[in-house]
């Protein structure tokens, strides 16, 4: 044991020379495009989460956003996901989603943890039907949290998705019950994140908060990230957002590849989560769910 910092004193350096120009003319780095910037920011967030928290997991919903997240994490950690991928399974996803999970869970060498949700009877009966169904997932998540004791959960929400998500922080503290206090959020700026949740609480980490739906598709195409075929048009309909079978509806679309999806997004006035029943039940349903810990 060395009580003393042997490297803090001096070892022949001279750090006080004036700053001089470093870049030889004509040797500039290639400039970064929009997707490069988003990617670099997300990688930074992933590394901060992994470095500053003790036990984290990535919430893998199998959708386009969380697949992009896994891809970004593998970029951050040079090919691997150095923490578990947690799938909180309602048991009601599309068969294509389960196939996708089982295939890429292996191919990407994920430490996959599938956690079940409680039966519907255990959930607040005053919520509208679809919200109640989604609230099941929140309960499942709480159970998984209790089981593993994670202090950080990485979630693929984006600011542009939905109004209440716009108020989110990148590192967002959740109370002991997993709840979110939108009015008492700590300041977050200059890529400095509040990474010390109170005892027993945990953090939600949002590495793609600054991305848009179009960014996700453009990046998926550029990086050739696999997707579930339900996102592409069949018989004039496709899914823009994938949830449980019974509360997710396809939208009218002829987009059968990513380029066509991007073209469609340029034109559309329909919000992304239009096919998600729970967003439209009552005005405060989503806010109530988020306060209770829904993603």
């Amino acid at each position: 044991m060395h009580l003393l910092r042997t490297d803090s004193g001096a070892d022949g350096r001279d750090s006080r020379t004036p700053v001089s120009e470093q870049i030889p003319v004509g040797l500039t780095a290639p400039s970064m495009d929009h997707l490069d910037q988003l990617e670099a920011q997300s990688i930074y967030i992933f590394r901060e989460a992994f470095g500053r928290l003790k036990k984290i997991a990535l919430l893998w919903s199998l959708g386009k956003d969380s697949n992009v997240m896994i891809w970004l994490a593998r970029k951050a950690f040079f090919g691997r996901l150095p923490f578990p991928a947690l799938h909180v399974d309602t048991g009601k996803k599309f068969p294509e989603m389960y196939r996708f999970r089982d295939h890429y869970g292996k191919e990407w060498d994920l430490d996959l943890r599938v956690e079940p949700c409680p039966p519907i009877d255990a959930v607040d009966p005053t919520l509208p039907p679809a919200a109640r169904s989604a609230a099941r997932k929140t309960e499942g998540l709480k159970m998984a949290l209790g089981k593993y004791g994670f202090d950080g959960l990485i979630a693929g929400i984006r600011r542009d998705e939905e109004a209440t998500r716009a108020k989110e922080r990148v590192f967002s503290p959740r109370g002991l019950e997993g709840n979110w206090d939108v009015r008492d959020q700590p300041p977050e700026f200059w890529d400095h994140f509040n990474a010390s949740p109170p005892q027993g609480a945990h953090l939600r980490i949002h590495p793609i908060l600054h991305w848009t739906e179009a960014d996700i598709w453009a990046y998926t195409k550029r990086e050739n990230i696999p997707i579930i075929p339900l996102y592409l048009s069949q018989n004039g309909k496709r899914y823009r957002s994938l949830g449980d079978q019974d509360i997710t509806n396809p939208v009218n679309s002829t987009a059968s590849n990513i380029d066509e999806i991007l073209a469609e997004l340029e034109q559309t006035k329909v919000p992304e989560r239009a096919g998600r029943a729970l967003d439209h039940e009552t005005e405060d349903a989503f806010e109530r769910l988020r306060v209770a810990g829904y993603l």
């Binding site: 001089s20 040079f78 600011r159 716009a166 300041p187 400095h192």
Partner: protein, 638 residues
Amino acid sequence: MNMIVTPASPATPNGTTRPQVRIVIVGHVDHGKSTLVGRLLHETGSLPDGKLEMLKAVSARRGMPFEWSFLLDALQTERDQGITIDTTQIRFRTNSRDIVLIDAPGHAEFLRNMITGASQADGAVLIIDALEGVRDQTRRHGYLLHLLGVKQVAVVVNKMDRVDFSADRFKEISDEISAHLNGLGVTPTAVIPISARDGDGVAERTDRIGWYKGPTVVEALDQLEPARPLEALALRLPVQAIYKFDDRRIVAGRIESGSLIAGDEIVIMPAGKITKIKTVESWPVTPVAGRQGAGRSVGITLDRELFIERGDIVAHAGSAPRETRRLRARIFWLHDKPLAKGDQLLVRCGPKESRATVVAIEKAVDPGELSSTENKAIGRNHVGEIDISLSSPIAADPYTENPRTGRLVIEVSGRIAGGGLVLSVDAGQRAVPVDIVPVESALRPDERSARYQHNGAVVWLTGLPASGKSTLAKALERRLFTNGGSPILLDGDTLRAGLNNDLGFSAADRSENIRRLAEVATHLARNGHIAIVAAVSPAREDRAAARRIADTAFREIHVATPAEVCEDRDPKGHYKKARAGALASFTGIGNDYEAPQAAELVIDTSTRTVAEAADEIEQMLKTTGVLFDEMVDLAANI
């Protein structure tokens, strides 16, 4: 998250990059900021087709006159009602610049956004109502620009139509605001008469302001100097983590400025170790050839193994950041409890964190009032300048040299409580000549500790005069020496006879006395000796400074003999003289001794023998890892 009105691409058709300039528009809340923004978007052709016509039609249908500020509202609403305005950025183009308007006008958390956003602003537009003239808020915003270091300020005198485009009125306001800004060290780049509503002076010099010969608002924006691109600055790669997932040891982080390429000779700060970049690692393709510039999250491997940790900064040899334990910062405070001198904080500079103490508060300003400049504490939403002493050295740049590594945030109880800009490093300390090259010992610490059976340490005995410090120090010295150790006694009075004979007993001299004692003791401790310091050292702050210097080697012992006993002993006759008024500044009479609150050991010599007290010190040194108990421990320590 950005409100992109025109395509954000900074590239022109011929492939050259247009300079990007970030601006803020400030001024009194009713002086027409939103109107100016709406008009600017229109005049620069930045609005989507049909948008203006649509809004005019909507206004007509509702039977209300069209206002330019509707544009901003409409764009905002349309974008997403939930988008918080503090993340909004509006872009438009002038002839040769891409303008990014950070911080849309007129919302509640103005100060915080102003500082977090505007600290990166290259320029500002300060708006003044021609009828109302310079108001308090106008002056405050001018002062804020000064605080934030925004040097390029264009002033627009708006609503000239309401003063009949009077050149005299314009000159009156122009003189007043110029004098105010000049007083703050800011020279306006232009003062422009405009009517944002009608368009005069925004993009055109109309007849109504025919007497004005200066630039229009668009021309003034076009002349703003962009900040130097981050890539043109010296390399700064703050280390986020070291990964060893496989046989590669990858140093990961984001390039904050400059650029790097495999083969570069680099220096790891603050340790100052020099090595080379072996490879730049990536995924799925690795390694990557070619230069990597500012903004990239990268991973590098080094051509030799050396100790490197999160928070270090990779720089090019020859343009490294300064290493410091002390810096001055201009901060804004967001915490409920005001920031005061002596407060203990956590400072984060990129991924580097360090415990810190507020040594001085040089300025404390309420930007809402600008009246109170009490230098005691910085309240919530106030700004100020502080000197910070850091418990471990960090590598930092003044923000004028590097806007990314020249900023920091302050945490209190694990929560971000403030942020600021690094004004200077080594604040308040003597300049160190550049030709000082400290030489390190050729011996390793473990070689020394194997011989002495102990690690180096600073044992600091503090207490009232005649409390028994010197007696204990000598007993401890004898005991350690007998056991084969290497103790060295540093008595305050003895050093005053030589090294410190230029110092008296003023508070400043006492502090300097303690600092020198601590530096000498720390040097000895670094070289494996146990420095035993016996000094009254009455000021808590001075002892805290000593602890910062010696860092983990510091062991504080409070010799807490009751004051009556000390006065009764009085071996040097000091108490008697002081009582007779013959000894000024004597600690012991009165309440000027500040007892330690968290000493490693407290000893009352009136209730135990010298040998018993020495036993207790020896035991403390064992339990805190200075003295080795057994040979077994020694093995564990090598």
